[in-house]
Symmetry: C2
Subunit: 244 residues, 2 copies
């Protein structure tokens, strides 16, 4: 049976999603728990990788199992075989054609940041602290440059060999406040490696006056990986939902 | 010169404020940083201890120093000699009679909890997760039992030898919401060991229907340490401010 699993995790303690030869990754920790239950290796496939320090509220992965367990028991079983910083929300039975990565229709990410003058020791892993004021109006305005269908070659880290098609559609980039924190929601059909962090880093550079919105637009149109050197910190980034 | 220092810290990584023979405490980490600057041991004295896992937004300590450093430089100096989870907000020069513990007039604590059905991996160190609904109205009502001047013998862990006077005044206990979380603010002239956590644990027991408000009141009046066995988790507790 193929199972679709929706999870959240605290990325602070991991070297990202993908299995690493010398480090604990979220994938390895979950696979270890599943191997214990199955008494053989189990491979899981996620909607996409998240980098070290990046969080998830609604990451999705799938795997195949021969075990005869009810869906609700599956949730408890995986939760009791994974650490406290990974949490299974939902386990669903899906048909054999479902693939967490290839069946994905759209994704939502959020980026959290604050502009308080003081460092907040309780939020350093969960929100990027700018510690001074950025021009939010300018950032909101510049965000429109990235909305729509674009070739994001300039705003991602994937090589052309790895990912020959770097065209993606961002449906919306919206800003809202939650207490002291700003939350930027990115909604699109798919995101390339570092894409959200590079766009967010560029918006910060515009908000601080380091570059203009026109420069950011020129970079997008140039499709040149050498141009953008901005990459916002991973700690503020959350994979919120994956839609099928 | 005597210096008064206001700091915040993430209590998750420490065995509490007070120096421990086999473990890193917040006091030890700060004293180590100060010893490095002074080239001799420096003893710091806080407004009071916090337990393992308890956080601070506005803890205060004092110490004496012969170093000739401007106040603003002091802030930077201590910050650069302490880890990322301890942050100095303010350093003030005070006269020799000032004592962080004995000069304290009042304190404010906050306790954060949530009642969302799902476990939140990003908040487990910072907010107590009840994972089901408690009767908040009942809790708010029962909180009034503890407001005013009372002998808190039944609601603290100090022995009578350690602390013969267990009379304290709570000026106010108030509830408010921040997003998904409830915040309970305790404001009083002083708090005994475990006092906030035992009162909070008792309010949870009332909110869940385990005991009645009348029982909690009888316990308070009985001045008997054997009665209350409730002690809310430390992770939701924050020392917010110390007033002089």
């Amino acid at each position: 049976m193929r199972l679709k699993v929706t999870i959240s995790y605290d990325g602070s303690n991991y070297k990202g999603w993908q299995s690493q030869p010398h480090g604990n990754s979220i994938q390895q920790v979950i696979e270890k728990g599943l191997a214990k239950m199955h008494r053989h290796d189990v491979y899981i496939s996620a909607s996409g990788r998240t980098d070290a320090g990046v969080h998830a509220v609604g990451q999705v992965f799938h795997f195949d199992s021969e075990l005869d367990i009810t869906l609700d028991k599956w949730r408890q079983a995986i939760n009791s075989n994974t650490p406290y910083d990974i949490y299974v929300h939902k386990v669903e039975a899906v048909d054999e054609e479902f693939h967490a990565r290839y069946s994905c229709k759209s994704k939502k990410y959020q980026y959290r940041f604050s502009m308080e003058p003081y460092y907040n020791v309780h939020r350093y892993k969960y929100c990027t602290q700018l510690k001074r004021t950025y021009d939010i109006e300018k950032m909101m305005d510049a965000a429109k440059i990235f909305v729509g269908e674009h070739d994001f070659t300039s705003y991602c880290a994937n090589t052309m060999e790895e990912q020959p098609n770097q065209v993606r559609t961002i449906y919306d980039i919206s800003f809202h406040q939650e207490g002291d924190e700003w939350v930027v929601t990115y909604y699109g059909d798919g995101f390339l490696r570092y894409m959200v962090r590079m766009i967010m880093g560029t918006l910060f550079a515009i908000g601080s006056g380091t570059i203009t919105a026109e420069t950011a637009k020129e970079w997008l149109e140039a499709k040149d990986k050498r141009l953008c050197r901005f990459n916002a910190e991973p700690n503020g980034l959350y994979l919120m939902e994956v839609n099928y």
